[in-house]
């Protein structure tokens, strides 16, 4: 990766908003987007007329049930009469949306940009899972009746086999995140559960059980991104976007080693280089890593080099990733606890780091002092990593 460090313009996040995350919502997708954008603008002290451009993130059109979903969402997103574009990297979209927001501002073309992510999965019948039938290669994979949980189970099992990880060690992630979510106002799947509850939950595709998985959800999230001069005018506590990175692996997932997310390492190295981070384990104070399944939190910690290969379960067991630990991971409650409206869930993570770095997370505020935070998402065919690094003022 040849990354040019001549970044001309700094970019700050000055506001964030969320809707509730729920299994199904009455509100239309554009109304959900509006709810999140409205809250983000109010928290930034800005009006819709101040917004110069809009970036929309949303995962497959086949959930909301509208072709050209970016068009459909543009009014609720605040994009009427403005430069508006939708970006898309599958499940990684939630963290990619603010990366696109970053380049809108860092290009010098815009001073105030909204990044909004929305997903309404509930319209898809008879179950949103059906949409995943269509993410496979139509010729060589779909005829085998491939199921989304299968592919993740295959990755999970390869990872567990490679580093000799026990199921109960993975389950700790689910226990932690669902408990963390008890303090989150948007949460859909918070709860006090035990490792035993996870191990006794319905076996879907061994080694995946029901409580290893995040729910399907409707919801939206938004942030306001501004140039340095606007940030200084608006707030004493802007949160700076200091590093962005993303990378895609080959489409051919059966030609990869599934035990390690190398694409995420590539993405993370890009972001760390830009943020001048040499030792992520020491320099990242708090992280929101993508956890649609409990093992993914561990897998991603390793890809982000926050833990050595095979070490993430040990850190988890030692309590280091708890809110009062030395490396708090997913203090929001993550996708496992707050819910998983795909793109919105990724942007929710960015919003959480924003609140953590401003010490505005209330009961979710991590114990240690925080200066540098990271949010990450993952998607496509287990092939894309998206990373954003933020610093407090």
């Amino acid at each position: 990766m040849k990354t040019n460090l001549n970044i001309k313009n700094r970019v700050a996040i000055v506001g964030a908003g969320l809707t509730l995350f729920r299994r199904r919502m009455l509100d239309t997708p554009k109304e959900l987007a509006w709810g999140a954008v409205k809250m983000a603008l109010e928290s930034a002290g800005l009006d819709i007329k101040d917004v110069e451009a809009v970036v929309i993130g949303s995962a497959p059109d086949a959930f909301d049930g509208v072709h050209m979903k970016g068009e459909y969402l543009s009014d609720g997103s605040g994009g009427i009469g403005k430069p508006t574009m939708r970006v898309y990297v599958g499940g990684g979209t939630g963290v990619f949306t603010p990366i696109a927001g970053w380049w809108h501002v860092a290009s010098g073309l815009f001073d105030v940009v909204i990044a909004v992510a929305e997903e309404k999965m509930s319209p898809a019948q008879p179950h949103p899972q059906y949409v995943f039938k269509h993410i496979w290669d139509p010729i060589i994979e779909r005829p085998l009746g491939l199921n989304l949980i299968w592919i993740f189970a295959m990755e999970m099992h390869r990872y567990m086999y490679r580093y000799n990880i026990k199921k109960e060690d993975v389950a700790l992630v689910s226990v932690k995140n669902k408990a963390n979510a008890l303090d989150h106002p948007a949460a859909q799947a918070a709860g006090k559960i035990t490792v035993d509850d996870v191990l006794k939950s319905e076996i879907l595709v061994w080694p995946v059980q029901r409580l290893d998985i995040s729910p399907v959800s409707d919801g939206a999230a938004a942030i306001v991104m501004v140039s340095e001069k606007i940030a200084r005018r608006l707030t004493d506590s802007p949160v700076w976007v200091e590093g962005v990175g993303w990378a895609l692996d080959s489409t051919h997932w059966t030609n990869r080693d599934l035990s390690y997310p190398k694409y995420l390492e590539v993405a993370a190295r890009m972001a760390y280089k830009m943020a001048n981070i040499e030792n992520p384990r020491k320099e990242i104070d708090v992280a929101e890593v993508y956890d649609p399944f409990d093992y993914k939190e561990l897998h991603h910690m390793e890809g982000l080099m926050l833990a050595r290969k095979g070490e993430a379960p040990i850190l988890t067991k030692e309590g280091i990733t708890q809110r009062d630990g030395d490396l708090p991971i997913n203090p929001s409650g993550g996708l496992l606890g707050v819910g998983n409206p795909i793109a919105a869930a990724g942007l929710m993570k960015v919003a959480e780091i924003f609140w953590q770095l401003r010490y505005e997370a209330g009961k979710r505020q991590v114990k240690k002092p925080v200066y540098t935070g990271l949010a990450q998402a993952w998607g496509d065919l287990m092939q894309v990593g998206t990373v954003i690094i933020m610093r407090g003022g």
Partner: protein, 156 residues
């Protein structure tokens, strides 16, 4: 900069498939609930009204396009409007000929932003921009709470 015109060689296999699921069920939001329940029960249209900038919208919106405020106020109106523009369709969705052709219009309502797209039952030589039309609703017991509770608009 380069382009490639794709010509498919004969030895390449065609593979048929779809990107369908069991279907979709859409909820209509708070404003949609007001609109369709009023249409069904009273045969009236509902506009939402922004109390900050005064804009009224049909279809009703829960947020104002102009000032982005939340909208909670609704007003009911008679289903009478003006034809803003029209077209005559001689083909159906699959481009198959239809006879008689269908007239479709965009109808606006007095002092309200937006309007409705719907079918128009009219003698085509009377068809022009600016004519006044009224909605012809299905009988009350056949209404289901969707846009087809209006059968068509007709000239008054």
């Amino acid at each position: 900069m380069s382009s490639e015109k794709i010509i498919r060689p004969n030895e390449v296999i065609q593979w048929f498939g779809d990107m369908e699921i069991g279907g979709y069920i859409y909820t209509v939001g708070e404003a949609g609930e007001r609109f369709f329940k009023t249409l069904k029960d009273k045969g009236l249209l509902v506009a939402s009204k922004c109390d900050k900038c005064g804009n009224k919208y049909i279809p009703p919106k829960t947020f104002c396009e102009n000032c982005f405020s939340e909208i909670k106020e609704y007003v009911e109106i008679e289903p009478v409007g003006i034809v803003e523009t029209y077209t005559i369709l001689h083909v159906d969705k699959d481009n198959k000929p239809i006879s008689p052709p269908i007239v479709v219009a965009f109808i606006s309502f007095d002092n309200i932003k937006g309007g409705l797209i719907h079918k128009l039952k009219i003698n085509t030589n009377e068809l022009k921009i600016g004519i006044k039309v009224r909605a012809k609703l299905k009988p009350e017991n056949e209404r289901k709470g969707n846009i087809n509770d209006i059968e068509y608009f007709e000239k008054i």
